[in-house]
């Protein structure tokens, strides 16, 4: 197991290099030239400089390879992701400012998903084909089918029409007023976690059904072990392995969902930062956010792979 962990950590290096390359190359494929945008925009006074001068100032005149190594070098040795092309502020600073907001939203969504999804999934499998199974499955699948952006839209539109109430769009940070912040985040988090909880429930149910038909479950029941113990100790532990995979898989989905939630509820997290940056072709911000989110997800997936060995000794690593 220890050797596996070391190997897995070493394998992280090519993944991260690969990821950074994909980020860098993909982002620079965005059509529309930031220089054109800057030259056509009056408020930054770009008209005083020529196109070549601007390109040189931003380092965009260098070959792509040079640009990549400058970017990655600055990140590794100075912890810098460069300056925003528009605001001229450090990208890292901006990201570190926004990251906790999106992280909070994501964690709240994850907690909603697991608290709701796993127990319902287990119940639904144990009570397969009963009325309870049908009802819980129907509701969970309904949650999966509801588009987050539609629920968000309805939450904005209908309370406003009926009661003249609409969610607060002036953001309060957790450090300013924790209660107000949580009250503000809870609706987006519920909507964000809703689909994930349904996915969790479905997979938990599927895997529980698989596991419950295994010989060792029959053996456990046959030797007189209590049904409850059999389900929780023997079945659930094995059924949860793919569910753990799902958490790793869903991490970027949560970020994607957060982008939409942040847009609807005007939460100034990484999602809004990204949407703004994409519309302005602000390369350093896009690559920065992209990379930071990517690295976070790579680390989550590492934890997921490592937890396989703890949850399921049967899976042997060679």
């Amino acid at each position: 197991m220890q050797a596996y962990i070391v190997r897995r950590l070493l394998a992280l290096i090519p993944t991260l290099i690969f990821a950074s390359l994909i980020v860098f190359i993909t982002v620079r494929l965005i059509p529309g030239d930031v220089i054109d945008l800057m030259l056509s925009s009056n408020d930054i006074g770009a008209d005083k400089k020529s196109r070549a001068q601007l390109e040189a100032a931003l380092g965009l005149d260098q070959p792509m390879v040079t640009q990549y190594f400058r970017w990655i070098g600055a990140l590794l040795f100075e912890g810098s992701l460069g300056l925003s092309l528009w605001q001229n502020t450090p990208v890292m600073e901006e990201i570190l400012h926004r990251l906790p907001i999106t992280f909070e939203l994501g964690i709240m969504g994850l907690v909603v998903a697991l608290i709701v999804g796993i127990p319902i999934g287990v119940y639904s499998a144990v009570a397969q084909d009963t009325v309870g199974d049908y009802v819980t499955r129907s509701f969970a699948i309904l949650a999966l089918a509801l588009p987050g952006f539609w629920v968000g839209t309805l939450v904005m539109v209908f309370p406003s029409i009926w009661w003249g109430w609409s969610p607060d769009v002036k953001f309060t940070s957790f450090t300013q007023d924790p209660l107000k912040n949580l009250a503000q985040m809870v609706i987006p988090a519920l909507i964000l976690g809703k689909a994930f909880s349904a996915v969790t429930m479905r997979l938990t149910r599927t895997m529980m059904l698989e596991v419950m038909r295994q010989d060792y479950i029959r053996t456990a029941l046959a030797k007189g072990l209590a049904t409850r113990t059999t389900i929780l100790r023997h079945a659930l532990r094995n059924a949860l392995i793919p569910v753990v995979t799902l958490v790793g898989l869903q991490a970027p989905v949560l970020v994607g969902g957060a982008v939409i939630m942040e847009q609807i509820f005007v939460i100034p997290g990484m999602g809004l930062l990204l949407l703004e940056a994409v519309s302005q072709r602000d390369y350093p911000i896009i690559t920065g956010v992209f990379l930071i989110v990517g690295v976070a997800v790579v680390l989550i997936n590492l934890l997921v792979d490592l937890s396989y060995g703890l949850l399921d000794p049967k899976v042997r690593y060679r």
Partner: protein, 299 residues
């Protein structure tokens, strides 16, 4: 427990025609919710295929006199801010969703199964490299790749299908691989290996059938997920461009500000997405329960 030897023909090979009829009988007898999902999926497919005939008006037929009319006998689902009939637009929206949903999910499933089975079964260096690629790919939020690639190749149905298919395909391979990791340690796989069965044969006859439950669940969730993702993309203004009546697109853009005056604009497209995705998922669940060979005897 009977070991499945490679030379023994699999039992219970059903005749295709009888199989379909038998399946339908069992679906309606044993799985009422799944049958309901099947019926709704069939209606959805029908609406998508025959949208041109069914729709009372064109999807972009503007009528300034009939702006923002509430649902009535003439306009069953009301009209939007340009006086376009919402029912017709929802029907044409079904057409777009059928095409995008089925093709992207099919592509995604093929990609997932191929990567998941090969990588999970072979293990070793190949698995290591493949999983680093999957890691790197999955570390990018879908929405960002979608935004970037759509803006490179231009918006449109083809790019959206290919991008969604690849996105969900590569990501979903993890679930299949996870299942394969357990299956490959089973006695019948070792038996097949010791009888000298070829690699494709082991993968096709022994591994694939035994990971079918997750594969089916994956495909169905993918059809739903693709329709959801496409509508989310359209919601952000990055899907098939207007005036194409995508369900997500109808909930975004200029229509949004009119929802406070005409709430039915916010209801119909969202309901369409929800009902269709719901139906696909309950049908998928029933399919899984009925088709998985190992689950058949469990009732």
């Amino acid at each position: 427990m009977v070991a499945v030897v490679d030379t023994v023909r699999p039992p219970r090979r059903r005749q295709p025609a009888a199989g379909v009829v038998g399946f339908m009988v069992r679906l309606f007898r044993d799985k009422p919710l799944g049958a309901f999902g099947f019926v709704v999926c069939a209606i959805f497919l029908f609406c998508g295929i025959f949208a041109d005939i069914l729709a009372p008006y064109g999807f972009n037929q503007i009528s300034p006199v009939n702006r923002l009319k509430p649902p009535s006998e003439k306009f069953w689902l009301g009209t939007d801010n340009l006086g376009r009939d919402m029912l017709s637009r929802c029907l044409y929206g079904a057409q777009l969703s059928v095409i995008i949903g089925l093709s992207a999910a099919a592509l995604a499933t093929v990609v997932s199964v191929f990567i998941g089975i090969v990588s999970g079964y072979l293990g070793g260096k190949f698995d290591m490299i493949m999983q680093r690629f999957v890691d790197a790919w999955m570390s990018f939020p879908d929405l960002i790749i979608l935004i970037v690639v759509v803006s490179v190749v231009g918006p449109g149905m083809g790019p959206v299908i290919v991008i969604l298919g690849l996105l969900y395909g590569i990501g979903g391979s993890r679930i299949i691989r996870g299942a394969v990791l357990s299956v490959r340690e089973n006695a019948y796989v070792h038996a097949a290996q010791s009888t000298g069965a070829s690699l494709p044969r082991i993968l096709w006859r022994h591994i694939l059938p035994n990971v079918m439950a997750p594969v089916i669940v994956l495909f169905t969730t993918r059809v739903g997920a693709v329709i959801l993702a496409e509508s989310g993309l359209a919601f952000l203004g990055l899907g098939v461009p207007p005036p194409a009546p995508t369900w997500g697109g109808m909930l975004s853009g200029s229509g949004r500000s009119f929802m406070y005056l005409a709430p039915w604009l916010a209801l119909a497209p969202g309901l369409c997405i929800t009902i269709v995705v719901y139906a696909i998922n309950v049908f998928g669940d029933a399919l899984r329960d009925l088709l998985d060979p190992r689950m058949r005897g469990s009732r």
